[in-house]
Symmetry: C2
Subunit: 301 residues, 2 copies
């Protein structure tokens, strides 16, 4: 899994700070998560092939998380896109996009498929043989979901030396990867475990923004390889969290610790702080393996 | 009049090219003309005080001319704006903006006043004692207006030396500027022309984008001080103009020549050309005083 931060700042796009957008590359997919204003320019700067983005997940309908979507959809049209595009987001997102396409007489020349969300329970949004994507219901001023991306358990890995020594014909190697026992060239049954290694443990990534401190999500994100969690405020502004339904760095670290995640990435920083390392100062005493998101930073998960 | 180009490129925002947006400073007003995606960031880069923008004019509902509007309106709210904001644009623009504010539960805390346009004749949009703004109906794939900004004739200018020599009390100086004759300290009537200079000739600026070649606008823009005219294509792609309803550099120069404007500024460049000076090569033989727009370039008109 490779996570590219396209933007990780709260509220408004600024000269050197982008609002929320991320790209998650996993098992051949390139998932776009949120799409603040300017995301298409950030994608260009990241040299991403636009046609590879086939699924866009929008957490909620605040501008810093979706105002770039209509522009990206339109640019796909101008670039002659043919591949289907799936957009997952809160109920209403279809109307926002389609009224703009209609009034601009600018319908897409590709299939644009909306998956509108209104459930307050986790939903399975996407699944194929390699990956699953679920919603993570969050607690914000408007209806909001995080997203949980889970690899499925992959194939077993061939222990080539052992397989050759066990005189297994290489036409059986695919079958071995699928976990089956096979018969060797001498007619003897060879147990799978003796000539294969277990698959890599599947990785998982949870994106949680925007939200008030919400320990209800802990069972769902328990043990994820990486958690991106919003941390809009530092402790000195904790009183603002209640009104705005955001989280402090300490609270995000508490979620990470209690969910026993592998690593924590903080983002959605308020513009009021000059020194972002203050977020680390507050989070790391609670959860050590914490890093800060940064526009265009790439995390190998 | 000072014109700041915030963006002058067609179709999609790119790493180093912004879509259409301009700021016109005239007699204390700061008018924003069009608002492609990323305009709020371009405004920040130009160090503009956001609160000074009180009137936004949107030519048409293609994304490269208005996708930045919702973000700018939202940012004004986040910055605590109190001043009224007037938005002039095609019918439908109010619905596009309000549905996004409604679904984001993010109503503005200032008065947001829409002036929706659907007339195919020139309309007076704004007038005060110093300035008038009119629509210029254009010919594009969707309903589109250019905008004509006209200074009104200012006050006469005091010839201080002559006024003192004519023994006029300085309490009459305001009256002199308004054009009236006055009585001097010796009771003699002094003619206004003998102690004042005429006001500067009023300036005017016409913004015309996007449009097919449209000589019907010539009477309305006759003699303007400066004309911004779209020139999406060069002659080699003239065949694309009919389908897309755009203009070539030669056609824009023909409009400028026939309307006897003071200067021509070309913009809305297609991304297909590497060398923009080719636009000048084609326009200047027809209208010599032609310049190219450029993001963040400032024109003193």
């Amino acid at each position: 899994m490779t996570l590219t931060i396209l933007g990780c700042h709260a509220a408004t796009p600024r000269t050197f700070h982008n609002p929320t957008a991320q790209l998650l590359e996993v098992r051949g997919h390139l998932f776009l998560i949120d799409c603040g204003e300017g995301t298409q320019v950030a994608l260009r700067k990241s040299k991403v092939k636009f046609a590879r983005v086939k699924h866009i997940f929008i957490s909620h309908l605040h501008g810093d998380h979706f105002f770039g979507l209509i522009g990206l959809i339109s640019t796909f049209t101008l670039l002659g896109r043919e591949a289907d595009l799936h957009v997952y987001g809160p109920k209403g997102i279809k109307e926002i996009i389609t009224i703009q396409l209609k009034l601009g007489k600018a319908w897409t020349n590709y299939n644009l498929i909306f998956h509108e969300l209104d459930s307050k329970s986790p939903q399975l949004l996407f699944e194929d043989e390699k990956v699953e994507v679920h919603t993570i219901p969050l607690d914000h001023r408007v209806y909001t979901n995080g997203f949980l991306f889970k690899e499925k358990l992959g194939e077993r890995k061939l222990n080539i030396e052992a397989a050759v020594a066990a005189k297994i014909d290489n036409s059986y190697f695919r079958k071995l990867k699928s976990g089956a026992d096979v018969v060797n060239l001498k007619g003897k049954l060879i147990s799978n475990e003796s000539v294969t290694f277990p698959p890599d443990p599947p990785k998982s990534y949870a994106f949680c923004s925007d939200t008030a401190y919400c320990p209800e999500i802990i069972p769902q994100i328990q043990g994820v390889t990486a958690l991106y969690h919003e941390a809009t405020f530092l402790e000195e502004h904790k009183h603002l969290c209640e009104k705005t339904k955001h989280t402090t760095a300490q609270e995000a670290a508490t979620i990470a610790r209690d969910a026993k995640v592998g690593q924590l990435i903080l983002g959605h920083f308020s513009t009021r702080y000059d020194r972002l390392d203050r977020y680390l100062d507050e989070a790391q005493p609670i959860f050590e393996n914490t890093q800060l998101a940064e526009d265009f930073k790439v995390f190998e998960i």
